[in-house]
Every structure is written in C-alpha cells, then in structure tokens.
C-alpha cells in the first residue's frame, strides 16, 4: 500500500485512535485529518469492519450452572477485614510467591547467606586469637614490671647478692691421687676436668672470694638446698626471703630514622659504652642511590636500659619501639636443681673411685662416667650463666635508617643501554608467556578434552530438543 507524502499519521495511529488509545492532542489532530483524507478514512473503515466481523463470533451466554459458584461463596470463609496484620501477611505471601516464581533467587540468597556466615566466623576467630596472643605477650612483661616495682634495683641487688654468695670458692691445692689431675674444693666437689686449671673458679667474671668466706659458702649451700624446693633461687633469696622474685629476660626493639647518618655508628657505640653495655652485633649497609642502614644488637644492663633507649631515640625520628620480657625463673630453678643433682652424683662417683679397689676396667668405667657428669655440670653452669646474663643485660635490637633524599642526576643512564635492556626483557617475557600457555594447555587440555567429549552428545541432544519445542510453540495452535 502506498501512502502519499503529506500524511502525518501512521496507520497504527489510526488504529490506536479508533481504540481510544491515542494521546488527546494527537487524537484531535487525527480526527481533523480524517475529515480531509480519503485514504485514511478508508483505512479506518477497514479496521472498523474487521472489528465488526470479529464481534460476530460470540462466546455465548454463560450456562446457569455457573451460578453455583454463588453458593460456594456463601460457604467459603468470610474474608478477613483488612488489618495491619493482614496487610503484613499479604506482603509476606506476595514475597513468597515472588520467590516461588524465581527459583534462582533461592540459590543467590543461599550463596549470600553462606558467604556472610563464613566472613563472620573468620572474623570472630581472628579476634579471639588476637586477644589470646596479646594477653600472652603482655603477661611476662607485666610480671616483669611488677617484679621491678616490688624490688627496686632488682638486677643490681641480685649482683650484690651473688657476690656475697660466690660460685667460685678460693682455689685450694689440688688433690691428686696419681691417677687423674682432679681438684676438689672446700666442699669436696670436684673441679678440673675440662677446665682451664688456672681459672677454674673464676669462670663467671665474679671476683674470687678469699678463704675466710666459709660461712658464706655454707649459706650458698643452704640457698641451693632451698632452690630444690622451688621457692627461692640463688642470688635472690638473701634479700627477700619468702618473696618470689621472678627472673625476667628483657628485650627491646627500636627503629629510628636519622637525618644525619654519618655520626650514627659512633654515637651508638658511645651511648652503649656510657651505659656499661656492649655491642653483640653491628652491621651497616650503604647501597647506591638508597638509604643507608645500621643494624645492631646491644646488650645493656637492665637498670640502664631506659636511659640508653632515651638517648638512642635522640638520633632521629622514632618509627617503631617495643619492649617485652620473658620470664626465665623456671628454667633457672630447673638448672639449679639439675646442677645440684649432678654435683652430688659426681661426688659419689669420686668416692667410689677413691674407695673401691677393683679391676682396671671398672676404674676406667667410673672415670668415664665422672667425665661425662663433669661435662654436664659445666654445660649447665654455662647455661645458668647465660640465663643470668640475659636477665642482667637486656637485649636491644636497634635499626637506624637514613632519611634518604635522592640526588638529581643531570646525566641519566645511557638510553641505548636502557633500550637494550627493555628489548631483552621483552623477549624474555614473550618466551615466558608462550611457555606458560603451553604448560597450561598441557595441564588442562586432557581434562577439557575428556569432559568435552563426554558432554558433547548430551548437550547436542538437549539443544535439538529445545529447538523442536520452540518450533512447535511458534506454530499456530488455533483455538477450538
């Protein structure tokens, strides 16, 4: 059908006008147009005739038996009056119907709920773990603080106590029996196996005690006996009988950024010496075009620690600082007990050696055992000294970084070198990506192939079936 160019109205609009579905302004314009346009009037007439002919097909009146529905209406429960609860119920039912019509929404809701539960559980567990770790870390430090406040000048006091109860009695003339170069002290305890004979009794740096300190020696034995009971330990009982003073090994960490890095090393050494400490380890690094770093492990007497830290902080801006304490009382007591037992064992072996007369083999066996016990004793004594040192001297991990300012290079690195490096890097990247793809393909390929083969035919069958179903739907299935 050809339409002349002056028509401003589509045929669809004519139909909408006849159906009363055209906007009022447009409808009035079309009505005016129909008065002048025969073609459009013809179209409108044709559409009306279609409607008239369609109306010829009547469905017919409803049978009277349909009215039985009214009896059922009487028997059915009276509908509830609208109420707030009723409206809520309707909204709930609407929502339920919505979900029923969209089964996928259940899957989405389930996935979201599972994800929320997982995140919540992980967060709770993480929070509980962090609280546990924090409390376990602070406990020994808090104990140490309490110890310090309870016994002012703890370490110094311990040092004085230890000097009053020396570990090393005055050397006595060696007692030899011609069989082995053994030395016994005034307690009858053996020394000398594995020792340097000359300084066997001065091995902890403590000043030797003269022969007139026998009473203090007896006191040391009594202190060791008390240590066996686990209530008191050597070096601390003399001042605070009945009070438990835990031994705490302190550690600290300090990280500083210094603007002027040059004098840092000398300053660290000077501060350490001034506070009667010593440097366990020190290293510096000075990479090109980067900040210089100094890393040191300092051993500072505990009473001097705070002062040393305060002075070290003056080197620059403090980035990080921490302190902690580890209680080593149990380890010390345990060592003392084991040491005492080992010494008793050694003495018994010496008695056996001196009194027993027997075969050479037996004598050699006893001497071997004595040597073993002596070795254990010396190891334990060394461990004990180490523990004491850890308690008396705090360990401070110091890190000093330079506040680096990059220098402006007027002449940048060679462009040709950079391009060359870029080309080489690019080539390597290409090779790596190809190899990576080949590796991936070899790893995933066989599985993809097998599953693809297994699923191909079922998928093809399902697709064809769906196509047939869609085609059947599209074909006209006329109403009866």
């Amino acid at each position: 059908m050809n339409r002349s160019v002056q028509h401003a109205f589509e045929h669809e609009e004519i139909m909408a006008y006849l159906d009363g579905e055209l906007e009022p302004g447009r409808a009035s314009s079309l009505a005016a147009h129909l008065d002048h346009c025969a073609e459009c009037r013809l179209m409108a007439a044709g559409l009306r005739r279609v409607s008239d002919q369609l109306a010829a097909w009547e469905g017919g009146p409803a049978p009277s038996s349909l009215s039985t529905i009214l009896e059922k209406a009487g028997r059915e429960q009276t509908p509830r009056k609208s109420s707030a609860l009723g409206r809520k119920l309707r909204r709930f039912e609407t929502g339920r119907d919505w979900l029923r019509a969209r089964p996928w929404a259940w899957g989405v809701a389930g996935a979201v709920a599972t994800a929320l539960l997982f995140v919540t559980t992980v967060s709770v567990l993480q929070y509980s773990r962090d609280r546990g770790i924090a409390s376990s870390k602070t406990a020994p430090y808090k104990q140490w603080l309490q110890t310090d406040s309870a016994i002012p000048g703890n370490a110094l006091t311990r040092k004085k106590a230890e000097s009053a109860v020396p570990h090393a009695p005055a050397p006595t003339p060696p007692i030899t029996d011609g069989r082995s170069p053994l030395k016994t002290d005034s307690n009858g305890l053996l020394h000398g196996l594995g020792d340097h004979a000359g300084d066997a009794f001065a091995n902890d740096g403590q000043p030797p005690v003269d022969a007139g300190s026998m009473g203090k020696l007896r006191a040391s034995e009594q202190a060791e006996d008390a240590a066996v009971n686990g209530r008191q330990f050597l070096g601390l009982t003399m001042l605070e009988p009945g009070a438990e003073a835990p031994m705490v090994a302190r550690t600290a960490a300090l990280s500083v950024v210094a603007k002027d890095f040059a004098p840092v090393e000398a300053a660290v050494k000077e501060i350490t010496a001034r506070h009667h400490g010593y440097i366990g380890e020190l290293s510096t690094s000075a990479p090109k075009d980067a900040a210089r770093n100094l890393s040191a492990t300092l051993r500072i007497p505990v009473p001097q620690l705070d002062g040393a830290i305060a002075e070290l902080k003056q080197l620059g801006r403090v980035e990080q600082e921490s302190q902690s304490g580890e209680e080593v009382s149990k380890q010390y007591i345990d060592l003392a007990v084991r040491l005492k037992n080992a010494r008793v064992t050694e003495q018994r072996l010496v008695d056996v050696l001196q009194t027993k007369t027997g075969k050479v083999k037996d004598i050699l066996d006893v001497e071997k055992e004595i040597a073993r016990v002596r070795g254990e004793i010396e190891q334990m004594e060394a461990d004990q000294r180490d523990l004491k040192t850890r308690v008396d001297y705090a360990t401070l991990q110091l890190t000093v970084s330079e506040d680096f300012r990059a220098s402006l290079e007027v002449a940048p690195p060679s462009t040709a070198t950079r391009l060359h490096n870029a080309v080489v890097q690019g080539y390597h990247d290409v090779i790596e990506s190809l190899i990576g793809f080949a590796v991936w393909l070899l790893a995933v390929g066989p599985a993809l192939l097998i599953w693809g083969s297994l699923l191909f035919f079922p998928a093809r069958w399902a697709w064809k079936r769906w196509r047939r179903t869609a085609a059947a739907k599209a074909s006209p299935a006329g109403a009866a």
């Binding site: 159906d19 005739r49 279609v50 097909w57 009547e58 469905g59 017919g60 309707r90 009866a480």
Partner: protein
C-alpha cells in the same frame, strides 16, 4: 455504578453482595473468554468456575494495583495456559478450515475462528483480549508482559492479517 475495584474492596471487607455484583458483571464475559479458547464448552465452564473460585479464595491477598479486570483475566490466562499444557500441544484442527470451498457456506463465527487460528499465538491473544475482553493496550501489556508499543504494533499486524483474510481483494489500498 460502583467500580469493580470498589466492589472487590467491599468484598474484602465481608460484603457478599459485592461479590454477587462482580459475578453478574463478569459471568458472561469470562465464560466467553474461556469458550473462545477451549474446544470443550464443559471445560470452559469448569475453568470459569475455577476462576471465580480463585478470586473468592484469594480476595484477602488482592491489592488494587492494575485493576480488578486485569487481575481477573490474569487468572483466566494462567488457567488456560495450564489447561493447554495438561492437554498437550495437539489442538484438534477444524476440518472446515482445510476446505476452501466450504468457506462460503460457513457461519461467520467459524470464519472468524478459522482466520484467528491462522495468526501467531501471541498476536491472536493480543487481538482477542482487545476485541473481546476490551482490555486497554496497557492492560494487555501487563498481562502478557509486553511493552505497550509492542502490543500496538502486533495488534495492528494481526488486524491487517485478518483484514486480508476476512475482506479479500475488496479493500486493498
């Protein structure tokens, strides 16, 4: 005259007379709806009853969003779809449709039925809802989940196709 929405709201509040009024208004149109879509008159009556029963039992959940008429015919369309799915897709063809010589001797309703049967299912449904149930383009679009412009264009297409079949050669422009 009280509107359909007022009547259904009155029925929600417990007025049986409101339901009777609605029933009287829609008894014939609803039966005609089913009768035009189903071959069996008894089945059409059954579905019409089911439709009214559905309104009766779910009146508490009714909310006046798209109007009672759309609500009622929405239920009716769902019932027809369910019935067709149950009965299968094989719709018995009318023997007269295959015989062009018989066209001149047929009753007009059979002519119309024949012509409608040749349309696409969706176009046919749109045309019937417009011509017989007198639903607006918006109501039809809401029921069939189509945009209004799509309803308009498909309705026009269906009418043009019918025009060719029902008025052959006489009104070609």
């Amino acid at each position: 005259m009280t509107s359909d929405d007022h009547l259904i709201l009155d029925f929600q509040k417990g007025s049986r007379e409101a339901f009777v009024e609605l029933f009287e208004r829609y008894r014939d149109p609803l039966y005609g709806f089913f009768r035009r879509r189903l071959a069996n008159p008894a089945r059409a009556e059954e579905l019409a009853q089911e439709c009214f029963l559905a309104v009766l039992r779910n009146v508490a959940r009714y909310e006046p969003r798209a109007g009672f008429r759309s609500y009622l015919y929405g239920i009716a369309i769902n019932l027809v779809s369910a019935d067709r799915r149950k009965a299968g897709r094989e719709v018995p063809k009318d023997d007269a449709a295959a015989d062009p010589q018989a066209h001149e001797n047929r009753d007009a309703s059979l002519w119309v039925r024949d012509a409608l049967g040749r349309l696409e299912e969706k176009d046919r449904e749109i045309l019937m809802l417009r011509e017989y149930e007198q639903l607006s383009y918006a109501e039809i679009g809401g029921l069939l989940r189509l945009p209004v412009n799509t309803v308009r264009s498909r309705l026009f297409r269906a009418r043009m196709a019918l025009k060719e079949q029902l008025l052959p050669a006489r009104d070609v422009a």
